[in-house]
Symmetry: C2
Subunit: 141 residues, 2 copies
């Protein structure tokens, strides 16, 4: 096993770039977010604003939780509530130049982590799959 494959790499070298990442905007209604999540098949995606700054994550589970009433599923809320009322704002963030070990620490408990630049603009995501793909390659040597 050549741990150099991991130990001298940065987060940026494992990045899924922003133009390949499905996202929604803070001002979108929940029905739009539910459609994007269902059609792309992703369980959670980043939430950006119109200037491409990162604000949080939204998942299909968060949306279902928000509309699940005591007696029935309150579907009319999908057209009344906005993404910013339901999203998770308390998320870990990475920078392109972070050492890879900081990324690996975070994906132990998060399926993916958003990467932003110093001004808070969204750069892309760091995913468990990219880490596991390289682990497999290394162990197979």
């Amino acid at each position: 096993f050549d741990s150099k494959e991991f130990l001298d790499k940065t987060v940026g070298q494992f990045l899924i770039p922003a133009d390949k990442v499905a996202h929604v905007q803070v001002g979108n209604y929940l029905n739009h977010a539910l459609l994007v999540l269902t059609k792309t098949g992703y369980s959670a995606i980043p939430v950006l604003d119109t200037s491409y700054k990162l604000h949080g994550l939204i998942s299909i589970t968060m949306i279902m939780d928000a509309i699940l009433g005591l007696e029935r599923i309150e579907f009319e809320r999908l057209e009344k509530m906005k993404v910013e009322e339901v999203m998770n704002k308390d998320i870990p963030r990475l920078s392109l130049n972070d050492h890879i070990i900081r990324g690996i620490d975070l994906v132990v408990n998060h399926p993916f982590v958003c990467v932003e630049n110093e001004e808070g603009y969204f750069e892309g995501i760091f995913t468990r799959r990219e880490v596991l793909k390289r682990l497999k390659k290394q162990l197979r040597r």
Copy 2:
């Protein structure tokens, strides 16, 4: 890096046992599965039969896909369709004695893989988190 931590281990040593894994049954209606998925917060869970044999996986995305009509979300289907009509039956499976590298190969593309015994009874799940937890520990040495 001590790759022995990985190279001489079996899938069983990383297992989340069946009694800790949320699941639904093939005969449940979709509204029951949607409730279990939303309340546990898991994006996908195993589908078993009454004798605890593994039949497939069901996810919140599969359920939303099944009820998303052209004009509107057809919520009445949640009480009419069953889990077995919507679940994914074509899933990878592992055995307790499989070498860990076979588990790692599979979690590159699957967030978790179900483990079953020779007769097909469900034993538990092998997850990305368990692999990444140990990778982090090893790299930190």
